[in-house]
């Protein structure tokens, strides 16, 4: 196993939108910046193929009153957001949107600020339609212009600490048998969402998820292991979109959600409407289950009544949202959305909770920052709080002395021993076997419907599985080794889902507790935190401050 060492003021973990924005800002603030990316930063992360909605507040387009926008940002799919985070988001978003526009990511449509989707008639719309197909190459270029060093094909596997302070991270080559120690004064996590924890609804295709299958909660897992505070891991959420072809971007569709007889299933619209899409998908979490139970299924997205202009508008934004493979496929198959309704369905459970950060993008650990989908953020959060993280990390690094970290740190040796063991074992379980074992366990014992006895039984089994995985996982090559380490991260996160779900003794949002059917109003303003203290998992309820 080869070993090398890099030094930086700021290490960005993940070259997605958050990581690149953080890198750009940190570099122009004078820091020496490295981005470590598992794949190729030109085409990595959830924003790689594009986006078309940016949640923001632009005063000249949306009116002088910022308060309704802060209010909207204060919660997301059943989760509460820190009030100051919501405020800074609303206040900073206009500047970031205009910056992107100047860099060459078109943020206007036909010369205007265009707001549509993720809202309902009468609502203050806050999702800007933009043409994000080229966003990754643009941000990549801007990072390189400012001297950011992008190190592709390296997975950061753990953070390095001295006392309570972050001093760097351990990287593993995803193509080469190589361990790299990154000595960094600050680290910014931007590794995205958590996929592959729950089974995909599509049999036999582990990668058929609406976020990239290589985003596996690595940031959350390493932050937790280093002692950082996570929040909201217990709350399940399911996204929806074209059935069997998992894609995000449901709000890009301009059609009406209907039952098999062609009756609209929501109260909002009866004809395709480009301004609102069909809000019923977001406002009715049990829509698909209820329609199936009523005998009126399937559920269709019906765009057949769409005007030629709105069809052109929808397809244009689908391309920018990253639907190109989908559009190519429909064209090859002769599926015309103007002529036929297509089925929609609900996807697998995912956890929206993640690393707790404040309005400065600081985590609870000194020198550690996080942004974007590390905490149910989405593209706008990644851009805004990536930028803020970069600025603050650079400031922090400027005042911090270089640590005495060297590449033979005890923790590095421990990780190397684990990696070596996985690669050299004679026999055992491959990554997929372990991943499937975890997925079935999560689905059966910590699915949408939960109870204390099931959660306890599941947690016991998960801990056995985790122990076994550490001792029996095998990899034939570097690619499989990386998948194995992702599964170990997922096992850590799965355990936290169980531990926190046991603490939520109520039914709320997507979390249905058979043994606690009441939504407890005393928890309306509280969030559930979890962290590691002296190798024990500790949970705590903390009320949101006004």
């Amino acid at each position: 196993m080869n070993q090398s060492m890099y030094e930086a003021d700021v290490l960005c973990v993940g070259g997605g939108i958050a990581g690149l924005m953080a890198a750009i800002r940190a570099a122009e603030s004078g820091a020496k910046v490295i981005v470590a990316e598992k794949g190729n930063a030109l085409a990595s992360g959830a924003g790689r193929a594009g986006n078309d909605h940016f949640q923001c507040y632009i005063p000249e387009a949306q009116g002088p009153d910022i308060k309704p926008f802060i209010q909207k940002l204060s919660s997301f799919r059943g989760q509460l957001r820190d009030k100051k985070v919501a405020q800074v988001w609303a206040e900073t978003s206009s500047e970031i949107v205009k910056l992107w526009d100047r860099w060459g990511i078109p943020m206007k449509y036909n010369g205007q600020w265009e707001f549509a989707g993720h809202g309902f008639p009468g609502d203050k719309l806050d999702h800007l339609k933009y043409s994000g197909k080229n966003q990754k190459p643009v941000l990549h270029r801007e990072a390189q212009k400012r001297g950011v060093q992008i190190v592709n094909w390296v997975m950061i596997v753990d953070l390095l600490k001295e006392g309570d302070t972050i001093v760097g991270a351990i990287g593993l080559g995803t193509r080469d048998d190589k361990v790299t120690v990154f000595k960094a004064k600050t680290v910014i996590l931007g590794t995205g969402f958590v996929t592959r924890l729950y089974p995909s609804p599509i049999n036999g295709r582990i990668a058929n998820v609406n976020f990239p299958p290589t985003v596996t909660g690595d940031g959350r897992a390493m932050a937790f292991r280093a002692g950082a505070e996570l929040v909201g891991l217990d709350m399940p959420y399911k996204h929806q979109g074209p059935k069997y072809f998992a894609r995000s971007g449901q709000a890009t569709w301009v059609g009406v959600i209907k039952d098999a007889e062609g009756k609209p299933l929501g109260p909002f619209i009866t004809k395709p409407n480009r301004r609102y899409g069909d809000p019923v998908l977001e406002k009715y979490p049990t829509l698909f289950e209820d329609v199936a139970a009523s005998g009126k299924g399937p559920v269709y997205m019906d765009c057949t009544d769409i005007s030629p202009e709105d069809y052109e508008y929808m397809v244009y934004f689908m391309e920018h949202e990253g639907y190109t493979s989908f559009l190519n496929y429909m064209s090859e198959e002769g599926i015309d959305l103007r002529k036929t309704p297509v089925e929609f369905g609900r996807y697998e459970i995912r956890i929206n909770g993640g690393i707790n950060t404040n309005e400065k993008a600081e985590t609870s650990l000194k020198g550690l920052y996080a942004a974007g989908d590390e905490l149910f953020g989405g593209i706008a959060n990644a851009a805004i709080f990536g930028w803020i993280a970069g600025e603050n990390a650079a400031k922090f690094a400027a005042e911090k002395k270089t640590s005495s970290l060297d590449k033979s740190h005890a923790f590095v040796e421990e990780k190397k021993a684990l990696i070596h063991a996985i690669k050299t074992r004679e026999g055992g379980a491959d990554w997929k076997e372990a991943n499937f074992a975890l997925q079935q366990l999560m689905q059966d014992y910590a699915g949408s419907i939960r109870s204390e006895s099931m959660l306890n039984a599941g947690l016991t089994h998960l801990r056995r599985l985790k122990e076994k995985a550490h001792h029996f996982l095998v990899a034939r090559n570097q690619w499989e080794l990386v998948r194995c380490l992702e599964v170990l991260n997922l096992l850590d996160l799965g355990e936290l889902v169980f531990v926190t779900a046991l603490e939520r003794k109520e039914t709320r949002g997507g979390n249905v507790r058979r043994d606690y059917p009441v939504t407890n109003p005393m928890l309306d303003k509280s969030r559930l935190f979890v962290r590691k203290v002296n190798d024990k998992i500790v949970t705590e309820w903390i009320e949101i401050k006004d």
Binding site: N40, L42, A43, S44, R205, A207, P212, T214, K243, E343
Partner: protein, 70 residues
């Protein structure tokens, strides 16, 4: 299984190999036709299709991902 390479068009430039973050083409030797080592990891992001200067790649959608429509 996806992706499908048209060997008549492919000039073995490896751009697809370098762009795929899922590393579906893992371990393709330089100067060779791309090897679809891990087809099950494909996310259908189309990055390799868009990157290919020869238009030599198409993604075949597996049967269990095909759309259901009226």
């Amino acid at each position: 299984m996806p992706p499908v390479i048209d060997k008549g068009k492919c000039k073995k430039c490896s751009k697809c190999v370098d762009i795929c973050t899922e590393d579906v083409y893992f371990d393709t030797p330089k100067g060779n036709f791309p090897v679809i080592t891990y087809p099950e990891a494909c996310w259908y992001c189309n990055c390799c299709v868009n990157e290919c200067p020869e238009g030599a790649i198409r993604l075949r959608i597996p049967l269990n991902m095909t759309l259901v429509y009226k």
